[in-house]
Symmetry: C2
Subunit: 699 residues, 2 copies
């Protein structure tokens, strides 16, 4: 990959003398923007291109370049890759369209090209992409007009985008917002180097501090997860834009890209699981990136301090902080007392309002910050100065005060928020401060600094995936209810005691053994929704009740589903009343087996109040999954019902995820509905379950 | 009020020769910024202030000024108001602090000052405020440093802020964002002219097109509502910032202001009810204001068109549009066909992706817009041009094309979204276009244009508040369940048939008359939560069951609540099964009687899924209220349950609101829990109700 992102020499195949043409732009950019290595234009018709010696073909160059840019029509591009491989070129960036984004023929062409490259030990970026850049090396292997006039400065933000248009837009915006870029990569059809590869490269790149990603759809879950985990392990925040969360959006995204997009809720969950920050707007993406760039500090706890010259904006920020899960704790009494001594009419609770008096008494801010951090146990602070930042001499005094505070309390992020003139702002930035104009955006950025700190902390958490004993293989065909629960029981998931009875009389005998009350259910691999046909009887309290209910169930089943194979009756102990949860496993097109959790009844059905995780995961991750649903408080002591056994629930989820991961693609889906969650310490048991194997492998 | 906001002459009482002091600033601003009327400094110690003739007191000025600015300590300010009233001054802006914001003594001083002003026919702004401005008149009756160096241009945005700090910040930001200001008012302690008065003034001001409001807490509901309705009647969008939605925020807001803040959810509902746009961030506030200012057009339908040069951003905008309730409909086939003819590889569904080809074929955009509006029945469009707006000649071509489209299809808003240089942006703005840099913010602004159009449309909707027949007076003391329902029945709200029985035997007789099944409940004004003590028996099917249940209920009541007054047993028909709704009335400190709606069970209890409206309102408003809850779909056909009688539910809510408004402050609260909503056409009946009168009037 270094051959592509840090080459010593670059050939441009299809180089044009016209610096505005696709084949001319990379020559122009490389030359004009100061790429230090050799630039080797390849053009069969001209011995010179834009003042550089040109060669008729790649075989004619005096020495094999590390990398080639290919700006030729599709069939010729394949030939060029072949020639490059033969010449020992190690990587190529292919602009050409006409491949898999067009039709099957193009896809076949693309596949052939990849085969050639693999055989020749070459990596390929594209085709149908806008190219790549390495700003530190003045390497612009791209034809984006975005770098024609203005270049970003060299810096620590790397950008990986599946879309060329979005990638270009990002590079311009990063520049206009004063940040610096290191690697820029657009992956286009991603025939070889894909989004995950490029992220992984940036994750290992010492000059990259934060990675911006634009993803339309993932195709290789394992490599994507690996890349994200690598970034996390190297403490590099990944800020992601993944569009298509609405119905229209998802449809439009599919018409826009060949990738089969996974469910948006699953992307959302996966990003949280792997510590990626998902931005919902371009502003948010850039704000968060900005806050993570430079010499910024992550926020090591939830306690946010707010210092303002406007009580109202203090409240606005407190509102926003709550939305993002940050605490704005009241300062301890002794701290409040200290602040009152400094300025009797200040707001001292937190938000701290130093009022317009700050203008007359500029050291107020430093004093306040000292109390906030020294006495208030605050993990990070936002300083909202309204229009004060427009005044040059005040700015100078504020900044030097904040520098002293930063030296005294390192590791606690401070965001400065004020209207500023460009020069005032630049002075803060040179000094390493992050500057926002808008109060709520500063809060959101701070929340992101907390988000990444938590995400990086989780790497140190021990959360082993449950080890499962040796498991029975998945049956080939339908799995009946008893078998399904037996399989889950092997994975260590609690189930109700139950047995299969052939006849109502057998059922009565089994019930006598089991003890009352019992539940009776029709046993048939063909009847999934038993209660819809009257196939379930609850709370039976005697042999007589079991006999008559059993007879009724069998009769209803034969009337309503005459073709169903009937195996008899399931006799199960009636589970103690508990809260009903729904656990599920499904195959996500992007992430493979994913686990779903929700609480039974209207929460799932009317509100879709569920959470997801990519399998497998441990119980601690399961607890976070549980905490995400809106109806979470039903699991605590609630209106007379006891606190539920959340340990048992988390354990069941983690075990289900391990089971799902074990079977992988062999499993189509699992539904555990309900899992009855008892009171704390009482465990959780599956009262019903459906397992659907994926069936015979289509390969 | 014109005396204050458009005076011909202004006295500055407490005028200082130092233009940096509070008493010096207004003199400096009025003089330097070109106020055309007379400026009359009042200073007993100096015959000249900042080059102007000064007078020892207001009685010495040659002619009474329309308005006086008072920059004196509190007690002297009261005296100054007295002198002004005597001299015939019609209005005053009082900067002085030391009034109701400090303590009771200050409040008394303030009350006295208001009495003096009222007697003298004077209006007062402040005290404890930053003053007011009228930019068209170069009137700066303020000491905010925000207008020391830079003035906003004269324009159509008026700003009303309870907070001086926030008001100043707003004025600077409006200026920096290139918008123009007309009226600017900070109301401080709002002793006379309050937030509502200032909004009402702007609502009637011909030069104001949009009103920005910053509200901490309302004190006079009727005047606030009147002002908001006036703005709506005059088609002036009101964009409001009301902080304090979080728990910490609300607490901080109360420590910050003397106003007793109402529940934030009620403010939220009231703003929606009266068509006010509530912004959640400063960016949003300014984006929406910007989109409503100038010659912008509201959006007359929900159908949004998106034209982009980046498929990804198209999807991002579609996502955002869904969040804000806008449709991004697929274009009709013939329109898609037309677009494909123009550019075969374009995305043509909507979002329309003209791709980077636009750069080579700039008239693509005009053609596309023509198809969008001409064939696509689209109500408004966002044109996302990524970095294209940075290129001057492309900009010129795009702009003139859009101008032709605007002339051809007037009344359909078009927002231009691109990175731009300041000059390029200004050219669009001069031509009357709204320009955003960020795609999701453009969508949000468009949604606001739709919001105001809907809000203004609703004024033309006929939604009469139900007329109630003559009602019984509210009882003085406790109201028992039967009485409560009888009172609601008078208001036309359906209730279950029921009767009071003294003994279990009487109950059995009553049940025989009524027909089975019946419900039996303890009747006691002292027992509010009947089922908690076993005071309810459902589904009784015979005289014998009624007798024994009645005896048990009476016994449990005497055991568990021996001091409760027992009136007997309520015998009620068992309502047909339906969906249980909860209707409530409460007194909001800011808005008086408000009505709450939610669906029974976990939705209300675990998720707080309720909506509010200020009473009274009509059935159409009630339907909007019903549509706001998250669990709304439970009222439609849902998993085998029928569609519910939403007409009956809306009617019950509207009647309850009329009932609440009728009794006003005499009512503490009403709970109708449950209202059983039958299937469509089956009506809705209150199965239980609690009415708590406010009790003896404390006055």
């Amino acid at each position: 990959m270094d051959a592509i992102f840090a080459p010593r020499s670059v050939a441009v195949i299809g180089a044009s003398s016209d610096p505005k043409r696709i084949g001319g732009r990379p020559v122009d950019f490389l030359k004009r923007h100061g790429f230090a290595g050799s630039i080797l234009p390849i053009n069969p018709k001209s011995a010179e291109v834009q003042g550089l010696t040109a060669y008729p073909s790649i075989s004619d160059v005096p020495e094999a370049p590390d990398m080639a840019v290919i700006a030729l029509p599709a069939p010729m591009a394949v030939k060029a890759v072949e020639d490059c491989a033969a010449r020992g070129v190690r990587g190529a960036v292919i602009f050409s369209s006409g491949f898999s984004e067009v039709n099957d023929e193009g896809a076949a062409l693309q596949a052939r090209m990849v085969d050639i490259a693999r055989e020749g030990g070459m990596r390929l970026v594209g085709p149908n992409c806008l190219g790549i850049a390495n700003v530190r090396h003045n390497l612009y292997a791209t034809f984006t007009p975005g770098v024609e006039k203005h270049l970003p400065r060299s810096g620590d933000v790397s950008i990986v985008s599946q879309s060329g248009a979005f990638g270009s837009y990002c590079m311009s915006l990063v520049r206009m917002r004063g940040m610096g870029v290191n690697i820029w990569a657009t992956t286009g059809n991603s025939c070889d180097v894909d989004f995950a590869d490029a992220v992984a490269y940036c994750a290992q790149d010492e000059h990259t501090r934060v990675i911006m990603g634009y993803l339309e759809g993932a195709t290789d879950r394992d490599r994507l997860v690996e890349a994200l985990e690598l970034a996390r392990a190297n403490s590099k925040p990944v800020v992601m834009m993944k569009v298509g969360r609405s119905a229209v959006g998802a449809e439009a995204a599919q018409s826009h890209t060949a990738s089969l997009a996974g469910s948006d809720a699953v992307y959302d969950a996966a990003f949280r699981q792997y510590g990626v920050y998902r931005a919902r707007s371009v502003d948010e993406m850039f704000d968060v990136t900005y806050a993570c760039s430079g010499s910024s500090t992550l926020m090591q706890g939830d306690r946010l301090g707010l210092v303002t010259v406007s009580g109202g904006v203090g409240v606005l920020m407190a509102d926003e902080a709550e939305d993002w899960g940050l605490e704005v704790p009241a300062l301890p009494d002794h701290a409040q007392k200290k602040l009152k001594e400094v300025l009797p009419f200040a707001g001292v609770r937190n938000p701290v309002d130093v009022t317009a008096q700050l203008v007359n008494q500029i050291d107020l801010l430093e004093t306040n910050m000292d109390v906030l951090f020294g006495d208030g146990d605050i993990d990070g602070a936002i300083i909202f100065m309204s229009t004060v930042g427009l005044v040059a001499d005040l700015n100078e005094a504020i900044r030097t005060g904040l520098e002293r505070i930063r030296d005294k309390y390192p590791g606690r992020p401070m965001l400065f928020c004020s209207l500023t003139e460009p020069e005032g702002r630049a002075a803060y930035e040179r000094s390493g401060f992050i500057v926002f104009e808008e109060a709520t955006r500063a809060v959101r950025a701070m929340a992101a600094l907390r988000y990444f700190a938590s995400s990086f902390e989780r790497l140190r958490e021990s959360d082993p995936i449950p080890e499962l004993p040796s498991l029975s293989p998945l049956p080939d065909g339908m799995v009946n209810e008893i078998e399904a629960k037996a399989l889950l029981a092997e994975a260590g998931i609690g189930i109700v005691r139950e047995t299969l009875a052939k006849t109502p009389e057998d059922a009565a005998t089994a019930a006598e053994d089991m003890g009352y009350p019992v539940v009776l259910k029709i046993a048939s691999p063909d009847i999934l929704h038993k209660s819809d046909i009257g196939g379930v009887a609850l709370n039976l309290r005697s042999a007589e009740e079991v006999r008559s209910a059993g007879a009724r169930i069998l009769q209803l089943a034969s009337e309503k589903m005459p073709d169903a194979r009937i195996e008899g009756l399931v006799v199960a102990e009636q589970a103690a009343p508990g809260l009903e949860a729904i656990l599920g496993v499904a195959q996500d097109p992007a992430f493979g087996p994913v686990v779903m959790f929700g609480l039974g009844g209207v929460l799932v059905e009317a509100l879709g109040d569920v959470s997801f995780r990519v399998a497998p995961f441990g119980p601690a991750e399961a607890r976070r999954m549980i905490d995400e649903i809106r109806g979470r408080k039903l699991l605590d002591e609630f209106r007379g019902t006891p606190k539920r056994d959340i340990d048992a629930l988390a354990n069941a989820l983690a075990r289900l995820s391990a089971y799902a991961a074990h079977h992988g693609a062999a499993l189509e889906s699992i539904d555990v509905n309900p899992l009855i969650v008892g009171a704390e310490g009482e465990s959780a048991v599956a009262a019903d379950a459906v397992i659907i194997p994926a069936g015979p492998n289509p390969d």
